[in-house]
Amino acid sequence: MKKTIITVIGRDTVGILAKVCTYLAKNKVNILDISQTVTGGYFNMMMIVDLSECTKSFDAFSMGLERIGASLVLKTNCQKAEIFEKMHRV
């Protein structure tokens, strides 16, 4: 399992989740968990995904996601999950 955390932050608009999920499906990336909040029109989403079957390299996948984010004026981040697990779990 190549557990990876995707975060998407920015102004809320119609179709964010749809566009991100379509991109994930196209690259054979499985979603393990999603949590999302919208406060004062501000969208904040985190996804835990598995990149084991991903057809692209990590860098290429991450850059593709960034381009989709940028087209919706959103900031996306794609990070391997270990950084969060190490930092927040003893």
């Binding site: 955390i5 975060t7 968990d33 949590s35 909040t37 904040n44 985190m46 835990i48 990590f58 860098d59 991450s62 981040n77 794609c78 990070q79 391997k80 999950a81 270990e82 950084i83 969060f84 697990e85 190490k86 930092m87 927040h88 003893v90």
Partner: protein, 454 residues
């Protein structure tokens, strides 16, 4: 399972509070490159550095992208060159040739610094040690990326006062040789006592002879993160203060441990240590001085500064030790003046003097770091400052160091711009009273007694 608030906390530390991994430093032994021919030695050094560190920069950057955390510096530390060149260097220019080879290798590999143009002379100098030391000004003036260090004392050996006297002169000479660039040669030269073999931080990094052939050491940072979290508990009691620093230090260090293990695996080089240091940069908000202010000082240098720094340093270690499997290097809070905007402000406000900084070095790792002093300061006074720091290290069984810049042509009140990570420094006052007669004595200070501690 990781939750949204934890992810947000980590990413806020990176994006807004300057959390980063300050350096991945590859330590490389050059002992096997030594030979009696200068050209053969230079070639062997170049080839070995390229062989092991050729992918260092690329790998460091890839790890940074994978975890979304900046890996600021990729660097190399090497066996002290005085040892490597002892057979083939007969004059100072021979050592300078090795320095130029190292500089060429550093540029080819893409690392911003290579540390280890060094001599370990805690008890005495060999002919090669002295030649290397005398070559430092020329080596600093004719290279860009070389860092030099000289260890002049230790708790076990005492202090080599002949080396201390010589270093006062060498610092002055290096300042003059790099006068056009505000004496920047001295910013890459550090004089140590009890220097660790596995320090990943420049300018004092070298790969000691107690180390293996190649090793990965990592220096973490994050004063901005500590400062930010302390703001949220303003006015709390000491227990809460200390617990908060410890917890934050744990989190910061875990990132360093992860990056170190990843770098070690990808480069096929054993993991050495994590250096638990709060290393500031000139960036706003990335300051150790700001933490001291948040603890409750108007400026660093106010009464209480030494206590606040002792507390901070100790809690950082307590939190960090738990987060890493191996801890080493300098491991303490750095208090460089030019690289920390809060320190610069404190000097400009008249709150911080060299004497108070010296007191602070009794409880933190590094010593008098990146301090600009008037260019006309006598060499003997610089030696006196080095001797004072070395004495603090020797007696207290800790690492101390002096990285001081007698800026040619500048006087108290002027400001010097070094640029980049080295920052800018106000020129500070040095006592006008002489120690010439003491420094001109020959020999060494004996090793201290380890009982009757008072």
């Amino acid at each position: 399972m990781i939750n949204l608030s934890e992810v947000t906390e980590t990413n806020k530390m990176i994006a807004e509070e300057n959390l980063d991994v300050r350096t991945i430093t590859m330590g490389i032994s050059l002992l096997d490159t030594a030979s009696s021919s200068l050209d053969a030695t230079c070639k062997a050094i170049y080839d070995k550095l390229l062989k092991y560190a050729g992918n260092l920069v690329e790998t460091g950057d890839a790890i940074g992208r994978d975890f979304g955390v900046p890996v600021i510096n990729k660097r190399i530390s090497i066996t002290p060159i005085a040892m490597v060149g002892s057979s083939c260097c007969k004059k100072t220019s021979d050592f300078v040739k090795i320095a130029k080879t190292l500089d060429k290798a550093a540029k080819k590999i893409g690392v911003n610094f290579i540390g280890g143009y060094s001599a370990i002379v805690s008890k005495g100098m060999t002919r090669a040690d002295e030649l290397l030391i005398r070559s430092i000004p020329e080596a600093m003036a004719s290279t860009e990326r070389i860092c030099s260090s000289v260890n002049v004392g230790s708790t076990k050996t005492g202090i080599d006062m002949d080396a201390v006297r010589l270093m006062g002169e060498i610092i002055k000479e290096a300042a003059l040789k790099t006068k056009k660039a505000d004496s920047i040669g001295c910013a890459k030269l550090v004089i140590l006592c009890n220097a660790p073999d596995d320090n990943p931080f420049m300018a004092g990094a070298f790969h000691g002879v107690s180390e293996g052939d190649v090793v990965i050491n990592v220096g973490v940072s994050g004063p901005g993160v500590v400062n930010h979290v302390l703001k949220s508990i303003r006015g709390a009691d000491f227990e809460t203060l200390c617990e908060t620093i410890k917890r934050t230090s744990f989190k910061i260090t875990r990132v360093g441990q992860l990056v170190a293990q990843e770098a070690s695996a990808r480069l096929g080089v054993p993991f050495g240590i994590i250096d638990l240091s709060l290393a500031p940069t000139p960036a706003i908000g990335d300051s150790v001085a700001d933490i001291l202010k948040e603890i409750g000082l108007e400026h660093p240098g106010a009464p209480g500064t030494t206590a606040a720094l002792a507390l901070l340093n100790d809690q950082v270690k307590k939190g960090g030790v738990m987060a890493s499997s191996y801890v080493g290097g300098l491991s303490g809070a750095f208090i460089p003046v030019s690289e920390d905007q809060g320190m610069i402000d404190a000097v400009n406000a008249g709150a911080l003097t060299i004497e108070k900084l010296e007191a602070m070095t009794c409880v933190c790792s590094v010593g008098l770091d990146m301090i600009a002093i008037p260019g006309d300061t006598p060499a003997s006074s610089i030696s006196g400052i080095i001797a004072d720091e070395a004495a603090i290290g020797m007696i207290n069984q800790k690492t101390t160091a002096v990285r001081i810049i007698p800026v040619a042509g500048k006087k108290v009140g002027d400001t010097v711009e070094f640029g980049g990570l080295l920052g800018r420094a106000p020129v500070m006052n040095v006592s006008k009273f002489s120690c010439e007669a003491m420094i001109s004595r020959r020999g060494r200070i004996p090793a201290p007694i380890h009982s009757f501690k008072n």
